[in-house]
């Protein structure tokens, strides 16, 4: 039914250096991914992708190996810095194919989003249980006080 990763690839009649620019240069990225992009092109660099209709998604650059490999982690919802539980990993691989380039993109880590949903649910369950215990104490206390009054 569903999987933890999405893979797509395409063969482009242009050398990897040209494709690399399009994939990593914020000026070009804004032309195919959202409406505007900011990318600090180094490991651990900050990135942001903005859509006029959705808002700005924050990302962190993971790997930069020109002109072969580029990856970043981007977070949901908007305006949230990425961490393990709220982000997916996007990886671009470029390989020379004849005089052109095979560009592959993998987006993965959707299960981590699922895990964080689990944690939220667990947190919710814990809180509910916590309240039940609190209410239990209150009930006991009320009963004790009640019996003393009587």
């Amino acid at each position: 039914m569903v999987d933890d990763r999405i893979e797509q690839e395409i063969v482009i009649e242009a050398p990897p250096e040209v494709v690399w620019e399009l994939v990593t240069d914020p000026e070009h990225v804004g032309a195919w991914f959202g409406d505007a992009a900011e990318i600090e092109l180094r490991q651990g660099g900050d990135a942001a992708f903005s859509w006029q209709s959705y808002g700005t998604f924050l990302a962190r650059v993971e790997t930069v190996e020109p002109p072969r490999f580029f990856s970043y982690r981007w977070a949901r919802p908007t305006d949230t810095p990425p961490d393990e539980g709220n982000s997916t990993l996007v990886e671009f691989s470029l390989s020379a194919e004849g005089e052109g380039t095979r560009l592959r993109v993998v987006e993965s880590g959707f299960a981590a989003l699922a895990r964080s949903e689990d944690e939220k649910a667990q947190h919710f369950a814990d809180n509910t249980q916590g309240w039940n215990i609190e209410l239990g104490h209150l009930r006991d206390y009320a009963a004790r006080v009640g019996s003393q009054v009587r």
């Binding site: 039914m1 569903v2 999987d3 933890d4 999405i6 797509q8 690839e9 395409i10 063969v11 482009i12 009649e13 242009a14 050398p15 040209v18 494709v19 620019e21 399009l22 994939v23 070009h28 032309a31 195919w32 991914f33 949901r76 919802p77 380039t101 560009l103 993109v105 987006e107 959707f110 299960a111 989003l113 699922a114 895990r115 964080s116 949903e117 689990d118 939220k120 649910a121 667990q122 919710f124 369950a125």
Partner: protein
């Protein structure tokens, strides 16, 4: 749409245990947490937690009947969750095609 956004829908169905629970619910129409726990290698407490995730995402709905709570799949929401993944894949496909045309345009421009 009730529940969360597409990410929450997706996260709710990305987990294999929850997918099996949805399969059981779809096959039976309705089931209690206890009935689900009897069919799957998950404790009743685990089932309850997973049902909470599915409920929050709007993929299942609960109905009280006497002392029991029966859960059922909301087909439109489940459909939306699976379609969302196909949509993400389609978006990447479209982006790659745009990169291709931009790169080839630039490359040709450099040649001439």
């Amino acid at each position: 749409m009730e529940g969360g956004g597409p990410d929450e829908l997706w996260a709710a169905v990305a987990d294999p245990t929850r997918r099996r629970m949805l399969d059981v619910l779809l096959a039976r129409g309705e089931a209690t947490a206890t009935a689900l726990a009897a069919e799957l290698p998950v404790t009743r407490q685990g089932i309850a937690k997973h049902l909470a995730v599915l409920d929050r995402a709007g993929i299942v709905e609960a109905r009280r009947q006497g002392r029991e709570v029966l859960y059922a799949v909301r087909p439109n929401e489940l459909d939306a969750a699976t379609k969302w993944m196909a949509q993400v894949a389609a978006e990447w496909d479209a982006r790659l095609k745009t990169i291709k045309s931009l790169a080839e345009e630039r490359h040709k421009g450099k040649d001439s």
